[in-house]
Subunit: 272 residues, 4 copies
């Protein structure tokens, strides 16, 4: 089976390229499942129930989150009741939302999904290795295809997570730095890996925010409003082929969709 | 003119692929200049005079460094006397070594070179924007081709440095995370940019170190010796085309050389 | 001459103990000058023109700030026009506000005042040692009494700043951790030193904020409003005796004023 | 019952003041138990079996450690076999050493002891609140006197730990910053608390290390050997009175012993 993972969706530009493009991408790449990290989809930070529903309606089958998981508290109701959205599994035990989800791909494969936060250069958070072990132990053994979004800052920690789960999950794909890394590979024991798949949204700014604002603050210490940027919108992600019998990956490919491809993707979806 | 920048050379595997491959790369890609970050070339951390000389003899025209600049104190003599090696320009004023260098490329172009350390998620260090401005002001105006190695952890800071220097230097290429990013581009005002060009050395470990050792420490808190790994050696870098009249970049391309290419590169160099 | 330095004033409880107590403290301790760090005085973060005026009216002669200097932008006008308030001297050059101030003590002594931010465990900021040297060079040589508020997180960095300025300034007193340290001393060359003088405000919470809120967020990752706490209000600071001829300190004493002392302090002020 | 907790013992000066002074302190203050943090006792970092035995012989009844717990691997054998020494309880599960110990005080009271590492501004580590809960659940209920050394950098986190365990343990006393805080108190539910009890060793340096060396590195980026300093040796700690029936504290007092008191303490011990 083949899945697409879409990196951090940032603001309305990010939402638009996803909602307009996903149906066409499913057809063009014969995708069985679409997973997306939506932690920045509401105005650049957090997620709302309305946006959650729009993304699902557009063809996103499952949603992961990151350090901004609770920035918009409206999302609590969705986290409590929906079965295709996960909060980071290594938040403290009492945190709202599910630590893992199982969704069915178009080809009938059951896919286990979770996300984890890194510890290095991030706010204090529970041990991600222990949390990963716990999720894997809790997932039913018949769920062989297992997807992990590792939302982390440091390349070292991402690589350790890849090695730690190598052979035990189908893919460990990173998010959070908002920049795609050119290191996609199948690790020795069969897990697809990439430090970061990059973000989905405007690329003419700083990590999706207006460059002038971020630069003013960095250069003068003057606080500014980090509004979401607008230009050069791209959808960044990775496509992974997984053997549903073994749960191991057979291929991984980076995906970068530009705005100008949208018309073609939309007509593809309309004419199908 | 065309230059190659080689990312963090790690240990003897990194040194070997550089010393064996550079001459062939110069021919294959018609390079006018080869710059390399050598901060990890001595046993994974620091640089020695002997290694410095080997790299220069192999065809590396200029050397940049990073946070591990002084890990091997033997290098002080080289830093004091050599004209093609720079220490980070935003170390404190009394730090050993030069803040910028000018080297002549094979086509006769004078190229100004410096490196800067990031502040985010790194040890306290002086303001890199101020240091960059100062280097640019000190470089003779006739030196139009100007190269900056931004040795930084955070993607946000790297992108700000790219924007800050856009149109004022030929290239801002990152090092330090040891993982190449897939974001190479020419910024709007003509500066070549990439968050990180990746590292040069063994890729079967964690950032070039033995995976078993790093993982044991990350998982058990037991300190271990982070020896340099050995397998899957690659040379990561970026090739930039610069208009010597304007100093602006016209093209940038990622480069990843595998061990198995060495034989061909060596025969190319021998037969030329 | 004798000066009192009051640590981070937090919210309305902090403002109240200062405005009600300072006049009495001046009498009780025969103070020639009162300096206060006011970075948290507006609702726990930042400073407003109105609060600035209230503090000055109550007898605060000079104000220092910290990392929250610009949290309330209304303060820009005061920073631009007032002569007894300083922003951290190692903010970037273009930052609003003055890097040092000179105020006249009740005994006629001119006192130079500045504050500096630490780098360790804090947001990236310019080199504080260089900034300190620059302020000292700019202050007129006849201004012998010189006061430095070092707003820093790490005890190591505070101790280094004390040693670095020992004999060159009258006092290096810390703020920012909101907890007074029991290490007040006169350093070998004559500078009064204390890692942190503590904060001024409610002490029944966490650094002045409501304990229940901070704990909920630390324990569950659920974001909460960190409102200023209300109980156990104290004024923390240090009293330093300085020889106005040499500018060196002769004594330092911790000061902790409790709410219950206010009535007595007020009647002292009224009856004088 | 009355216990003394001695803060981070640094190098041979720290060891000497402890080994020479403890017997006298036990007499002078009628101590039932002496606990010490020994994480810096071997040359400034780590602990060796020989030093462990010396401290125990001198009258230290129980030993806690910190982030430098494994700096000297020789200590593994002691951690594996001795019953009065604990490693931080929130290290990963496989870490060497015990998470809690029970020692008998001179008055017959059983005292449960553990230490925990903070997360803020420190290397990634497991959740300390969860680890604290687990230790408390594992300690036999009849062990009512319970001591926690919270080895942490940030004052906020220390205060949260105090509030979190208030009423559940006898004392939460901090270590790691090497500077005593002037905030010792009995929290509302009966737990003795102090952010940091300070360190035991030379006070003429930076956190116990030679000031010239630390300053050179901070000011010039030049790596130096941070040798242990030599002068102004002090023993810093806190004395806590605990009701053995309830396990709650009734008093806490800071203790600072100077070198010059040693002669008197030694004669007190000899003559008893
Ligand atoms: Fe994130
Ligand atoms: Fe994000
Ligand atoms: Fe580096
Ligand atoms: Fe490196
Ligand atoms: Fe502050
Ligand atoms: Fe503050
Ligand atoms: Fe420590
Ligand atoms: Fe320590």
């Amino acid at each position: 089976m083949r899945l697409l993972f879409i990196g951090d969706i940032v603001g309305s530009p990010g939402r638009e390229i996803v909602t307009r493009g996903v149906a066409g991408l499913v057809l063009r790449h014969q995708l069985d499942l679409v997973i997306a990290n939506a932690e920045n989809s509401a105005g650049g930070s957090g997620l709302t129930p309305q946006i959650y529903r729009k993304l699902v309606k557009a063809g996103v089958d499952a949603i992961t989150l990151g350090d901004h998981v609770y920035r918009r508290k409206e999302i609590y109701s969705v986290l409590d009741s929906s079965e295709n959205i996960v909060r980071p599994a290594n938040l403290p035990g009492e945190a709202r939302g599910r630590r893992w989800a199982i969704v069915e791909a178009r080809d009938g494969t059951q896919v286990g999904i979770c996300c984890l936060l890194g510890q290095l250069f991030m706010k204090p958070i529970d041990n991600p290795w222990v949390a990963a072990d716990r999720v894997l132990a809790e997932l039913p053994t018949e769920v062989k295809v297992r997807f992990v979004d590792f939302h982390a800052e440091a390349t070292s920690e991402a690589q350790v997570m890849g090695r730690y789960l190598d052979g035990r999950v189908s893919a460990v794909l990173g998010t959070h730095t908002h920049v795609p890394t050119a290191d996609e590979c199948i690790l020795p024991e069969g897990t697809a890996f990439q430090c970061d798949v990059g973000m989905t949204g405007p690329h003419d700014g700083i990590l999706g925010r207006r460059a002038d604002r971020v630069m003013e603050t960095m250069l003068t210490a003057n606080p500014t409003q980090f509004d979401v940027a607008t230009g050069d919108v791209r959808l960044n992600g990775a496509i992974v082929d997984v053997n549903p019998e073994t749960g191991l990956a057979t291929a991984i490919e980076r995906l970068c969709v530009l705005e100008k491809e949208l018309a073609e993707l939309e007509s593809l979806a309309t004419n199908s």
